[in-house]
Symmetry: C2
Subunit: 394 residues, 2 copies
Amino acid sequence: MTDDYAPHRSDELPPDSVGIVEPRTQHFSDSLTLACGRSLDEYDIVYETYGELNAAKSNAILICHALSGHHHAAGYHSADDKKPGWWEVCIGPGKPIDTNHFFVLSINNLGGCHGSTGPASINPATGKPWGPDFPALRCRDWVASQRRMMALFGIEQWAAVIGGSLGGMQAMRWALEHPDEVRHCIVIASAMRLTAQNIAFNEIARQAITSDPEFHGGRYLEHETIPKSGLALARMVGHVTYLSEDGMGEKFGREIKSGNFQIGQDDKVEFQVESYLRYQGDVFSRSFDANTYLLMTKALDYFDLAREYNDDPVEAFQHAKCGFLVMSFTSDWRFAPSRSREIVDALVAARKPVCYAEIEANFGHDAFLLPIERYLKTFSAYMLRVKEEVNRAL
Amino acid sequence: MTDDYAPHRSDELPPDSVGIVEPRTQHFSDSLTLACGRSLDEYDIVYETYGELNAAKSNAILICHALSGHHHAAGYHSADDKKPGWWEVCIGPGKPIDTNHFFVLSINNLGGCHGSTGPASINPATGKPWGPDFPALRCRDWVASQRRMMALFGIEQWAAVIGGSLGGMQAMRWALEHPDEVRHCIVIASAMRLTAQNIAFNEIARQAITSDPEFHGGRYLEHETIPKSGLALARMVGHVTYLSEDGMGEKFGREIKSGNFQIGQDDKVEFQVESYLRYQGDVFSRSFDANTYLLMTKALDYFDLAREYNDDPVEAFQHAKCGFLVMSFTSDWRFAPSRSREIVDALVAARKPVCYAEIEANFGHDAFLLPIERYLKTFSAYMLRVKEEVNRAL
């Protein structure tokens, strides 16, 4: 996830922002049975909402976040907050997910590390952090916990469930498992399942974390430490692979940060890209929980949309009743356009309504977080249709 | 570098192999001044030769190895040896580099860890391993030390200097710095300089090594340990990025090594690609020196063919007097065909004779080590021309 969104001037918030937002925490004391067979007796979900829920409760949008995402998708937490939520380009008044018309719910997924119950939370059975004992989670578990939030607001059907990357997997799972509760499913830079290469990169990230001596078998919090360098490495792998070669070339080229190429110099030259990566890794390692990273990458690896539908994506999508918008980005090589076209092909074969846009963009997988004109236009046009449907039904 | 070359039957060596070969060590006691300004007072070079040097000494080929390569490029070290040298597909009787006609010299580069003097060798000044005190090396230093080997054999001109990847960088450096001593330069899956993405992957590998607590600032041998998990991680990054997505997909798909996807299982499923990567990382970490890996990746990052020629590759190549064969592989994304085309474009603009072949192949950067039909045919055809030139001059 990029950190490059331009900070606003601290004396005023941008007019197309949802403005100051406040996260809230919802406690659930009904046990939730998980795909792994275990259950959580109680848990918290932290969430934010933007816009107003209409009286018919028909204008609700669910945002599903990706690997390193969280509930804070739009707006600012204070007037001094330097950075807005991670999807500020897409959520706000007049933006694709237009908060003048929609009510947006954005939650931190169960197992996360930004306020919802996860491996860094206290296990009530032991009084210690869950750590590696936190149950394995699947996309369907997130769908189940999101559905409880839905009930809380009295929403019977989402106007749209929207997600990029791992978030797109959750959106598709929603469409298959609760077809009557989803009007539109928007799947951005995602896939029906990971490739071997993608699993391999996730495994490298996990190995980096678990082979850090500070990992302590996942019980690092009990040892009052964190596997900082392992997590930083994991992030660096993610960062390089979520960007495109051209995007990195444009951003860094072979620019030198320090040193020079004079003969007589030992290895003193440092390229910009090296210090940038180390900085990104360092920042991430101090703000993200290592066990959450392991849990999220496993959920990614295990996701296989059609597994329970005879490995047939057409059979799988036959269960859906919603409209689909699928978008991909030309330079995204971890969730390549060919993966999105597989989704579209299966939807077409299942005779489902689908719009597909393959967006020319230079920034790899991270493109879904960036203000790319055709992306935002296409997204807005589709959402306008969703809004008109909502209005017609009123 | 792939480890998949089929082992021979132990009761006989393949007839198209150079057979049993023996590495030799050459000691140099004349000081070698390096690009970094420091010098090595004395050093060893381990090497192998295949085929016979003719009386005119005009049939000599120099092989330059890549990041994790070494002198053992062809043949077997004993009748029981399970695996041949790393370029067995290209070197041998009747193969592209035909040992019935050519004399082949293959050395382990200075700074290596397979017998030539490197960071794991004893520093005569301290009686301890060089470790991080070993001087930084550049491609030109390897060229200089290879040139001393050349003199030893009384060779005045190479019939060809040949290398893949980092080896191709050395071959190009030879062509520019010693134009009268190279008749042909064969550059395979290489580049005039690395992209930011490539530098980033190397930096991740280095961070994995140096952040391993067993690294001890590079003095791990003095601590009687090695940064095993860091080196394994570095290798895993290399392995994934040197393969193509399709190649990995073909080889592993989402095949499961253990566990199953039944509901009620925690994270027990292990994909084939995960255990394969861990195995490869483990093997490598026990056979390669971490400081050598750092040194070699730095030489890769710093290489910039045209830096001293006003950053103009055309001006650079104007110094060359040899013929060029450039080859690339369609699925190689770390040394992509576009990088090879840059070399070819510069050569054409410099009015140098160049043949270029872009080989359709599925195995990423590793393709240059594999028996791909069009690759071997093109390579053989060019080498036939080199042989005919040698014969005509006799």
